[in-house]
């Protein structure tokens, strides 16, 4: 096996702390001794190793792409996005980081739904806020040129904005800006819920409605991830908002899933539960999301 130099390992060891791409490492209450027992028998790791979990969070664009693919490709409406003019009024670190996530999601929406001109407009504010929060190396002039060149190509636009999101993520990690990263992730998540609940009215049979219900799981992971940085007052405030939303999600009924007939040619993981959402609950979650989101975007 390839032998890494001692210097390499030393730098790896000393440079990186316990937070990660898409989520942080955090001891979950629900994952306790059973896991550690199982893992300890497998390798020479400490108990801390066994219990340490990285919480991953799907990017906002994945939900937007899904909504487009299940029938919403004509849902082009930039009127409810955060006006780009607001960017100049975000002067504190918290609002800059959250709105970087919000504008990043708006940019992703415009790209995914083929609104090239709006995408360019949102790219400018993402770049502006990115420069201010320390991810300027990710958002260079070449990205702008690529965007301009691909205004009419939604697949390319979406790919470019996805890269922008992932690279911003990496930049914030490398810079050990965990709190900023947490706020950006929360902003992007709330904005994606806001956009989809604006595009999609309740319809129990619509996969987009179910996808909103299923956000319960992503919310759980974001909250666990953010707990790593809750000593930061801004993160603690946003955590309070997300926990309030979690109260609504926790009220959704979960029913055991029956075993399906095996799918052709692919392994099916059985079990789990189905999260059910009613019209009333959907509206309540939409309203809560709107209220939280507007509290972040409104210029005070």
């Amino acid at each position: 096996m390839k032998l890494k130099s001692l210097t390499y390992i030393l730098s790896a060891s000393l440079s990186f702390s316990l937070f990660s791409c898409g989520g942080g490492s955090h001891e979950s209450d629900e994952l306790s001794t059973n896991d550690s027992t199982k893992v300890d028998s497998l390798a020479l790791n400490t108990e801390a190793d066994a219990n340490s979990i990285i919480y991953q969070v799907p990017s906002p664009s994945e939900m937007l792409t899904f909504v487009k693919m299940v029938g919403g490709k004509n849902n082009k409406n930039a009127s409810f996005l955060n006006p780009s003019d607001n960017a100049k009024n975000y002067n504190d670190a918290k609002s800059k980081a959250i709105n970087f996530g919000i504008y990043g999601c708006d940019l992703s929406y415009c790209s995914t739904f083929e609104m090239g001109v709006e995408a360019l407009k949102y790219f400018k504010v993402v770049k502006q806020l990115g420069d201010e929060i320390g991810v300027s190396t990710t958002i260079d002039a070449n990205v702008a040129k690529r965007l301009e060149k691909n205004v009419g190509n939604s697949d390319s636009l979406a790919s470019i904005t996805d890269d922008l999101y992932y690279n911003s993520f990496e930049d914030l990690q490398k810079g050990k800006q965990g709190s900023t990263l947490a706020l950006m992730v929360a902003g992007g998540y709330i904005e994606s819920l806001y956009i989809v609940t604006n595009l999609n009215k309740f319809d129990a049979k619509n996969p987009a409605t179910q996808r909103i219900a299923d956000q319960k799981y992503t919310l759980d992971n974001i909250i666990e991830f953010m707990k790593n940085f809750e000593s930061d007052a801004s993160v603690a405030e946003v955590l309070k908002d997300l926990n309030s939303l979690k109260t609504d999600y926790d009220a959704l009924k979960e029913t055991s899933v029956a075993t399906d007939a095996p799918a052709k040619g692919i392994k099916v993981l059985d079990g789990g539960t189905n999260v059910e959402i009613t019209d009333v609950q959907y509206k309540a979650i939409s309203e809560k999301v709107k209220s939280i989101r507007n509290s972040y975007t409104t210029v005070k």
Binding site: I9, N34, D162, K267
Partner: protein, 165 residues
């Protein structure tokens, strides 16, 4: 003096192995660059990159767990790859809520790629490990650290019958 250095190095290695996937920056894009497989001839399926993919620096004996959201109605493809060819990398898929083990590649011919659907949307734990003392150690080259990538891809499952959506 040698003992002091050895203890220091050991402590540091323990520190970095606390969760191998958390050592993201050193191996940051390893999964994007090395875990992508060319589709088999005639395979026209288009899987999309899933942002819950991850790379990390692993030593022998390292175990790392990722908690990921998996949606019903989607096909997923997990691909594992290691910087050092031939290294055995194990992974298990566990239901995060019930702790039920759903898949173990060690019981499936050490498959480094796995395609699946889930009957329900849920959080899964993906536990990745590099066993202690694998064959390479016998060759006198113990692994101090190598990048391991976990690439997750997804696509909407094929549906049978007519559907409005």
């Amino acid at each position: 003096m040698k003992k002091v250095v050895a203890i220091f190095v050991f402590a540091i290695i323990l520190n970095y192995s606390n969760n191998s996937f958390s050592q993201s920056s050193i191996c940051a894009n390893f999964h994007k660059e090395h875990c992508v497989n060319e589709p088999a001839k005639g395979d026209k399926r288009e899987f999309l990159y899933n942002s819950q993919s991850r790379s990390g620096l692993f030593s022998q004996g390292s175990i790392s767990k990722l908690r990921c959201v998996i949606y019903k109605g989607m096909d997923y493809r997990l691909s594992l790859c290691c910087e050092t060819a031939g290294t055995q990398v194990n992974f298990k898929i566990i239901d995060a809520k019930t702790k039920e083990e759903l898949f173990d590649n060690a019981k499936n011919e050490n498959a480094q790629q796995f395609e699946f659907q889930s009957n329900s949307t849920r959080n899964l734990l993906i536990e990745v490990s590099v066993p202690s003392g694998d064959a390479t150690e016998a060759k006198g080259k113990p692994m101090d650290g190598a990048c391991v990538g976990l690439l997750i891809e997804h696509k909407i499952s094929e549906r049978s019958g007519f559907s409005k959506y």
